[in-house]
Symmetry: C2
Subunit: 246 residues, 2 copies
């Protein structure tokens, strides 16, 4: 996969020549300095990917010709939604980047009792746009043809109220009375979809844990050491795929 | 574990009053601004931990009284050595931090064919000292009483020459013909010790892969997406503990 990959949400099989979105056009011309006839790949973020050829490569005005549909990188067998308690800017960026690379289907930035970042975050929609761009960049790098959906910020109570009992895992502190997220907990049958909740830096409030247990959510720990809040999602997703198949 | 933890490699049960190393003393007085009588924890980096009381807290001159030995955070059942191809400064820092948090016993910075960072790195011993400080900081944060050993930089060929067939895993690109690092590959019996090799950004050279296979090393991938070089160790360790028990 040596060819550089570009995200073109409007690409579809009925069109031969497609324009690149502005960010992608800039990446192609100014960063990679590609010229007409260069071979690239194009993906639509929903699982389709093509080989393509650069047709025009002007400043911010790039179009490519779709050549052949290719078999995209396989998506996981389980559609995992990751709900992550809001973290500081760069930590949240890392979670979005890593969860995209680890195959999450949906990422839900989540407001919880112990979230410490300003609650203004997300009001304007600005951080959501930023996280979407990060998810696109990560999909480009890791070879994924699907860009996970970055949902609007939600409250953990609302998520738990709709959690499917048995198919929801809440990552908790090692001290909490809970089983490990291991092959035992993750035994068959593998669900079609799952929700994983990972807390903010301060962890979960007692009432959030109680609500989760009342809803039939599996409270699970990821080993006896205290994980950094921005690492826990990566560890949890790795554990899931180890048990369910990569 | 609300009490701040300090690394005192010379602490031992025969001594009642122990001085803190200079870095730790500065952390206690200038960052945390603790005073005499404050309750803290002390660990020796080899698995012993105590509750302690600050006795003197002068500038860079701190001593504590060891009170009671406590049960330290449990170490993994398998002693995993992580050999990691040399990465750029901040990426290498992240690997050392994360591998400490994920329970690695030994970290071996490794020179491989595709390593791109200056080969001067490690000649002076300076980066090794830096990685040791990062491992200490990570152990303090994650609650671990053991600080993994940061070995001297070695060549991957030398490591592979001594690899134990069957108990060594080499993380490879998704394209390579290899099985996944999942519960199948990691089936019983669980070894007492294991070696995990993760490559630099450019991955492994064909001759390195061939040597690994000749030595009976398991070549394994971590899913169909291309992982960032600094994330692969964290993903691999998470997979191991999921299968072997956290």
């Amino acid at each position: 996969m040596a060819e550089p990959r570009f995200f073109v949400p409007d690409a579809n099989a009925d069109q031969r020549i497609v324009p690149l979105p502005r960010d992608e056009a800039i990446h192609l011309t100014r960063v990679l300095r590609l010229r007409p006839d260069a071979r690239v790949r194009v993906f639509d973020g929903r699982g389709s990917e093509w080989t393509a050829r650069v047709v025009t490569a002007g400043r911010g005005d790039v179009s490519v010709e779709l050549l052949e549909a290719v078999v995209p990188v396989r998506e996981p067998a389980v559609a995992v939604t990751l709900a992550i308690g809001l973290l500081k800017g760069d930590q949240m960026d890392a979670v979005v980047r890593d969860a995209t690379m680890l195959g999450a289907s949906v990422i839900v930035p989540t407001r919880t009792a112990h979230v410490t970042v300003s609650s203004r975050a997300g009001r304007s929609g600005e951080p959501i746009d930023r996280w979407r761009r990060i998810a696109v960049a990560s999909a480009k790098q890791c070879g994924r043809a699907v860009v996970p959906d970055i949902a609007a910020i939600r409250d953990v109570g609302e998520l738990l109220a709709h959690a499917v009992p048995g198919d929801t895992w809440m990552c908790v502190e090692p001290r909490a009375a809970a089983g490990a997220l291991d092959t035992g907990v993750l035994g068959a049958p593998r669900p079609a979809a799952a929700l994983v909740l990972a807390g903010p830096e301060g962890g979960w409030a007692p009432e959030e844990l109680a609500l989760a247990r009342a809803r039939g959510v599996h409270a699970v720990h990821l080993g006896p050491r205290t994980l950094r809040a921005e690492s826990a999602p990566l560890v949890a997703l790795s554990a899931l795929w180890t048990a369910w198949g990569w």
